[in-house]
């Protein structure tokens, strides 16, 4: 199966197709993690994007049911150098190619992903088309150029769960697998969880399961609500805290969510936001957001905590950022990205509200920053 990847700047890469036989459009971005393709595929933040992995060998450890980050993969397409014909991992359930096929996602291999990444580093994220059904180059280029792009589009409604539910950990893997010897299916073994004694509401803008796992591990009883849930409906669950999740696309297109958060702020209930949740908080508190020329993606984004001086290596995946100049005086920017100095974290001077642009749950990625979940718990316990 021949495949092509066409970019709006006129570049066309040829290669071998895998996964679904179809044509898909999206913003082409890259990820430099050497492993973690399954988590990336299923991360709702990648909705509307075609992801290039810079590491050349992909699919080696297959795909399993435990390491998913949401109910299905969300990427528009996958661009890699070489797909493993056979995987080796005791937890693998199926090959990567089969998994993509099952979910209707096209993949292309045999691409010089380093060259592509370099192009994206110079040009910024580009609109692109991936096709595995033999369409002509010109056709693909035309489709890439005519695509509306990410700005101003609400992708959240495509990835949010339609109904609210309480997160149960049993269905998915716990990062810290049990260390003791076990009987029964070892893949099901987990460290014991603490009692779930603090009820919170988590807004699902495309929430990653690993965030839910981390919250549950800290003893939160997590009620997940759809993105369009009004503040009043969320408060009806009598939460001790509100969590605003990560998610895809442009925060400026999410008026309903910004409004809900604006209504929640005066209640005094502690709020913690991650990624898109952080951007929505920024908007709700009166700030503005803008599209980055070079989005932050991958597991090695350096972030400096301006208050402690500590540098953390973080996992990130976003193309928009909060404009610090637009923020009201009661908001403190307490974290910045050391590469481009953009806002990576904020807190409210008076209220128990804080948020970060990066992914402290890190799946995949470094685990430098998981204490933010503890901080959330402490904030709730104090208030």
């Amino acid at each position: 199966m021949k495949a092509i990847l066409a970019l709006e700047d006129g570049t066309v890469y040829g290669g071998e197709g895998f996964g679904a036989r179809c044509t898909a459009r999206g913003e082409v971005c890259f990820n430099t993690s050497m492993t973690g393709y399954q988590e990336i595929l299923t991360d709702p933040s990648y909705k509307g994007q075609i992801v290039t992995m810079t590491y050349p060998l992909i699919g080696n450890y297959g795909v399993n049911v435990e390491d998913i980050e949401s109910w299905q993969p969300h990427v528009g397409g996958l661009v890699i150098r070489e797909l493993a014909p056979l995987h080796s991992n005791w937890r693998a359930d199926e090959p990567l190619g089969d998994y993509l096929l099952r979910h209707g996602i096209p993949g292309i291999q045999g691409v010089d992903t380093r060259a592509l990444t370099k192009r994206l580093r110079v040009r910024g994220a580009l609109k692109g088309v991936i096709s595995t059904e033999g369409i002509a180059d010109e056709d693909a280029l035309e489709q890439a150029r005519s695509w509306h792009g990410l700005a101003g589009v609400d992708y959240v409604r495509e990835v949010t769960h339609p109904n609210d539910f309480v997160w149960e950990d049993a269905s998915s893997a716990n990062f810290r697998l049990a260390t003791a010897e076990t009987t029964g299916n070892p893949r099901q073994v987990r460290d014991p969880l603490p009692p779930a004694d603090i009820p919170i509401v988590a807004y699902d803008f495309g929430i990653k399961y690993n965030i839910l796992r981390r919250l549950r591990q800290r003893g939160f009883q997590v009620r997940v609500v759809p993105a369009h849930t009004p503040a009043a409906d969320a408060l009806a669950h009598r939460p001790a805290g509100i969590f605003l999740s990560n998610g895809p696309g442009d925060p400026a297109a999410l008026g309903y969510a910004v409004q809900a958060v604006r209504d929640l702020i005066p209640t005094g209930i502690p709020i913690f936001g991650i990624c898109l949740g952080h951007q929505i908080l920024g908007l709700a508190m009166g700030g503005r957001t803008f599209k980055l020329k070079f989005g932050h993606r991958g597991g090695n984004q350096p972030v400096k905590n301006l208050e402690s001086g500590q540098v953390e290596i973080t996992s990130q995946n976003h193309g928009f950022a909060v404009d610090p100049a637009s923020l009201p005086p009661e908001i403190v920017v307490d974290r910045i990205n050391l590469n481009d100095q953009t806002v990576e974290g904020m807190r409210h001077r008076q209220r128990p509200i804080f948020c970060v642009q990066y992914h402290p749950e890190a799946s995949p990625g470094p685990h430098d920053t998981t204490s933010l979940f503890d901080q959330f718990r402490q904030t709730i316990e104090k208030s």
Binding site: P56, L57, E82, S88, R114, T179, L338, N339, P366
Partner: protein
């Protein structure tokens, strides 16, 4: 944090001689440490007994001590130099153990020396099995179930509880010496007692077997602020059960999911935090692919072989950074190529790194080719490619064992599948090659996984290579279709191997692919910790991304993997060549594939190509870089083997011409030249079959020295005393043919061997000092102890040696460096061989004589004249004695005698005002040290009985008690030397010799092998000596030197003295 101001002078302890499990990676790490600390303004006191290292170059440290690595010597050095800090974790296990001893004995506190980098108790937490276990328990990290014991009885009890098989691990040893996997109580008893003897503290661990689990390693770096980063994730392709030093490895991990990697990282951080290491730590885990259980196997709170590999695989110089962190810097103060500082480091890259070990089983007759928990490899190669297949095939052609691909090794392709599967039952050095043929014969990936525990992903990759190869074979005798050639090159098939598969000349394959534009391209590995540095690797899977400069440049070919006969000495020369070129303002291009070396350090050369040393790879770089020439005479045999083909392809070889190199190696041409020059050589001949061999023997007369042509390190060399032995030799010699004959020389009995390293410019030659061997002719020069300058050689012979050397240099038009080996017999000097290239004694001569041979040779190659270098005859007030270090402890089944085949892995140097003291020091450094009193056991072959008498008398005069076996006793007694009788085992009287060795009643053993009849008879004596660490001598020459050394030593121990001071005392005679 800025650098520590409370420290001014730092002591660094090296790792001593190269042994299995501790090779030149510690020269690499120690050299980096010196560089790092000096750049921060500290004074360095360096101690290492290994003269072949770069770190012991007088310019690397402020005070350099080439002295034995033991508590007594170190204490003296500390007393003399008064360093205020000791950096313990860069000199391998040896440096770490010594540091820990110095701390425990109170020496450090007495002289106010603090340990930096890692605390003394941290060393113990990491190294002491019991303490380590307790620490892991506290951290909640699982380990294989185990118990530490101090005797065999307890070992049996524990093993019974855990269930066989169990693993035995001695505490405080390196390379797993003395350990092993045992399946039953008999094996347990053998290995446990060996392990207890090998351990510094007599402690062993009996451990649950995790055979077949995945073996995973992390390299973690921690700073004083407790900031931690993971430099590299290494996956061992060979599962648990094969020592990691023998394992085929990849980086990054290729089949391990991120959840598990994250978990391993978290465990590692908890561990290094608890152990409080500042700098690099290697942590090894086992993961059970059936249950997901993860156990920690061991940690090395120091630089290691793995950290050297990780450094080269990632471009993160762990030792350099570790030294800076030990000096108080923190990660956020050290630059990172990604912008910013190292606290932000994460592993990255879009390439695959493969490490493959190099073994030397063929060197040890009787050694079983079987891999286990004790390391057997003598070296390793590393390769980088865009995909696994490319990297793997590059690794194979880097090995320099005559194989350029995986197929058709030995006779494996002729074996049946059943046989092949049988061979795979136990891991051996040939495993991947057997597996390849098994795949060709149709073995399934799953079956091979069950046999080898190599994960299916890897086997599948190899299977695809086999499949591709089968397709290629269909075109044998024809031209490969273009697309197939392209695919083959992208899969990493070497030109040479394709030529072999297709039956066409390699040059033809090359022409074909170049015509199609299929050429090597290069990519960079950026270096962390410094600004703007990188090194390069080739690929056929991408465009060229490496720029070239328009500067003057010269390419230096390195030595490839360490193996016996080709080790660190050649790397030393290559590094010096690079330095000399840099000093001359010329861009240096280094090509090498050995990750343990200093030559592959990112800043040794201007441009490092981490590449196999094959014609294909070297030519590609040459075509790209267009240097003005290539230096081949420093990398040992490796680059020499390429010289002719490179020259034929139009490459300009600097220095001595390839034709002259060829002449010197071609026995016929060389002999004709010697006859013409009137320089004596032992009579010789060549034979390509038995009849010819017998004919030559009749002409020359026995004894004879026989060997295959074109080998280094005397491989397959033997002394033959009669027709029967000759017949056996010829029958056993593999691959002899008219173009590869065996060489036969008259063996000069009782000849003194000598050699000379010379600098030459084509007209003139300069010999800093002649070397005189202790062991007589018949022992390989690499294994023989030697003295420099000579001790017993009369001036007229030295004169003759210098004269012959000059004439040969002139005749061979040597430009650069050369080495000539001589034998002195019947008052006559014979030339044994001439090598118009650097020999393994170059660093030795350089250090003893203070003549930087390799640097000067490089200048000569660039066109300078010898006369312009200002070299004069030197007068020395010191003697240097080199002693070889042999790996017999790692091959317990092998008879540890010396012979014409080289088997030493490393060497030490003893420096002192007199020969006796220098010899004593060298023995002390090589270990075990000579006794100064006690009992000496003498048991010598009949032909040595006359020679031993004098030594025995002197031992007696020194007050030694002498024991001897019957024949020797009778002879000594009849000459009036009082001695007592000891029993050989076959005499069935107790206590016999081994009993006495075990009960430590014997302190020195002199035991010469009797030749072919009785070799089997008394090898147990020598084996027992090794096992119980009793010094033993196998030649009468060594006995004479030893007694002299002991006598002088008793008059007063040789003081420690810095190399810089020895050098200052050398006077010149214009």
């Amino acid at each position: 944090m800025p650098r520590r101001e409370d420290v001014k002078k730092v002591m660094i302890i090296g790792s001593g001689p190269i042994v299995i499990g501790q090779a030149c990676e510690f020269d690499y790490s120690g050299t980096q440490a010196c560089k790092a600390l000096r750049s921060l303004g500290y004074e360095i006191v360096l101690v290492n007994s290994n003269p072949a290292t770069i770190m012991t170059d007088p310019g690397m440290a402020d005070r350099t001590f080439v002295e034995p690595l033991n508590l007594e010597t170190l204490t003296e050095i500390i007393k003399a130099e008064r360093p205020d800090a000791l950096l313990p974790n860069l000199g391998g296990q040896t440096g770490l153990n010594l540091s820990s001893q110095l701390a425990r004995s109170g020496v450090l506190s007495q002289y106010g020396v603090r340990i930096i980098g890692v605390e003394a108790d941290a060393i113990e937490k990491g190294e002491d099995r019991i303490l380590f276990k307790e620490t892991m328990k506290r951290l909640g990290i699982d380990m294989p179930r185990s118990e530490a014991v101090f005797n065999v009885e307890d070992a049996e009890k524990v093993a019974a509880r855990l269930g066989y098989p169990v693993v035995i691990r001695p505490a405080y040893t390196l390379g797993g010496t003395g350990g092993g996997l045992v399946y039953n109580v008999e094996e347990l008893r053998t290995v446990a007692s060996r392990g207890i003897a090998a351990s510094m503290v007599g402690q062993i661990l009996i451990e649950e077997s995790v055979l077949g689990w995945e073996e995973l390693e992390l390299e973690v770096v921690r700073d004083a602020r407790n900031h931690m980063i993971t430099v590299c994730f290494i996956e061992n392709v060979d599962a648990m059960g094969v020592h990691t030093g023998d394992s085929f490895c990849v980086a990054p991990m290729l089949t391990i999911d991120p959840k598990l990697q994250a978990r391993l990282q978290e465990f590692s951080y908890r561990i290094v935090e608890a152990i409080e290491v500042i700098g690099g730590t290697n942590i090894q885990f086992a993961h059970d692919p059936k249950t997901g259980r993860v156990v920690v196997i061991e940690i090395n709170p120091r630089t290691s072989r793995s950290s050297a590999l990780a450094s080269k695989a990632t471009g993160f110089p762990i030792a350099l950074i570790s030294a800076k962190l030990a000096a108080g810097l923190t990660l956020d103060e050290i630059p990172y190529w990604r912008e910013g500082t190292l606290d932000k480091y994460t592993p990255s890259g879009d390439y695959v790194v493969v490490k493959f070990a190099r073994w030397a089983f063929e060197k040890f007759k009787g050694a079983e080719d079987r891999l286990g928990t004790q390391m057997r490899a003598v070296g390793e190669v590393m390769s980088i490619g865009k995909n696994f297949k490319e990297a793997f095939q590059k690794a194979i052609r880097s090995l320099e064992n005559g194989r350029h691909g995986l197929g058709f090794a030995k006779d494996f392709h002729q074996r049946s599948l059943d046989e092949l599967m049988g061979l795979l039952k136990e891991p051996t050095s040939e495993r991947q090659f057997i597996l390849y043929e098994a795949l060709r014969k149709g073995a399934s990936v799953e079956d091979l996984y069950q046999k080898t525990f190599i994960k299916p992903w890897f086997i599948q990759q190899i299977k695809e290579l086999v499949d591709a190869e089968q397709e290629i074979l269909r075109f044998r005798g024809q031209t490969l279709p273009d697309n197939r050639l392209r695919q083959a090159k992208q899969d990493g098939f070497a030109d040479r191997y394709l030529a072999q598969l297709l039956g066409t000349p390699e040059a033809e394959i090359r022409r074909h692919r170049i015509r199609l534009g299929i050429v090597e391209a290069w990519d960079a590995v950026p270096v962390s910790g410094v600004e703007n540095a990188a090194y390069y690797y080739s690929t056929y899977n991408g465009p060229d991304r490496v720029a070239v400069s328009g500067r003057r440049k010269v390419m230096v070919l390195g030595g490839g993997p360490n193996r016996i006969g080709q080790g660190i000495e050649f790397d030393y020369c290559c590094v010096h060549a690079a330095f000399a070129l840099r000093d001359a303002g010329i861009e240096t291009i280094m090509v090498n594939c050995n990750p343990e070396t200093v030559s592959t350090d990112y800043d040794t050369s201007d441009k490092l190509y981490f590449e196999p040393l094959t014609v294909e790879d070297v030519l590609s770089i040459y075509e790209k870089e267009r240097p003005e020439g290539v230096i081949v005479q420093f990398g040992g045999q490796t680059p020499l083997n390429l010289a002719n083909e490179l020259a034929a392809a139009g490459v300009r070889i600097l220095g001595t011409s390839p034709d002259m190199i060829d002449l010197a190696e071609d026995r016929d041409r060389f002999r004709r030249m010697m006859e013409k020059m009137g320089i004596p050589m032992p009579e010789s001949g060549m034979a390509s079959n038995l009849e010819e061999a017998l004919e030559v023997a009749r002409r020359i007369g026995y004894p004879l020295m026989v060997r295959p042509s074109y080998v280094l390190g005397g491989r397959g060399m033997e002394v033959v005393y009669d027709d029967e032995m000759l017949q056996r030799y010829v029958a056993a010699a593999v691959g002899i043919a008219p173009e590869r004959p065996i060489l036969i020389d008259r063996f000069l009995e009782n000849a003194i061997e000598a050699e000379a390293d010379a600098l030459a410019d084509g007209v003139d030659a300069y010999v800093p000092a002649v070397m005189e061997h202790i062991e007589l002719a018949g022992i390989h020069s690499g294994d023989s102890a030697c003295a420099i300058p000579p001790v017993t050689l009369p001036a007229r012979h030295i004169q003759a040696i210098e004269d012959y050397t000059l004439r040969l240099g002139r005749e061979l038009k040597v430009v650069g460096v050369m080495n000539i080996q001589y034998a002195v017999a019947n008052d006559r000097v014979y030339v044994l061989e001439a090598n118009p290239r650097a020999s393994r004694t170059v660093p030795l001569v350089s250090k003893v004589c203070n003549v930087p041979m390799a640097r000067l040779a490089t200048r000569l190659m660039l066109g300078e004249r010898l006369a312009g270098l200002g070299l004069h005859r030197r007068k020395f007030s010191h003697v240097g004695v080199k002693e070889a270090v042999l790996p017999f402890a790692m091959f317990p089944e092998v008879d540890p005698v010396l012979g014409p085949e080289m088997r030493s892995t490393g060497e030490v140097l003893g420096l002192a005002p007199s020969f006796g003291l220098a010899y004593f020091k060298a023995e002390e450094a090589a270990g075990p040290p000579l006794p100064v009193e006690g009992t000496v056991l003498i048991s010598v072959a009949d032909r040595d009985k006359g020679d031993i008498l004098d030594a025995a008398r002197r031992f007696h005069a020194l007050g030694f008690r002498i024991k001897a076996t019957a024949g020797t006793r009778d002879m000594l007694a009849s000459h009036g030397v009082p001695c007592e009788l000891s029993f050989k085992i076959h005499e069935h009287r107790r206590p016999h010799i081994v009993d006495e060795i075990k009960s430590r009643e014997i302190h020195l053993i002199i035991n010469t092998p009797a030749g072919k009849q009785s070799q089997a008879d008394d090898d147990y004596i020598r084996k027992a000596a090794i096992k119980y660490k009793v010094p033993y001598l196998t030649t009468t020459a060594a006995a004479r030197a030893s007694v002299q050394g002991i006598a002088e030593h008793r008059q007063g121990r040789a003081a420690v003295k810095a190399l810089q001071d020895y050098h200052a005392a050398i006077s010149e005679q214009p």
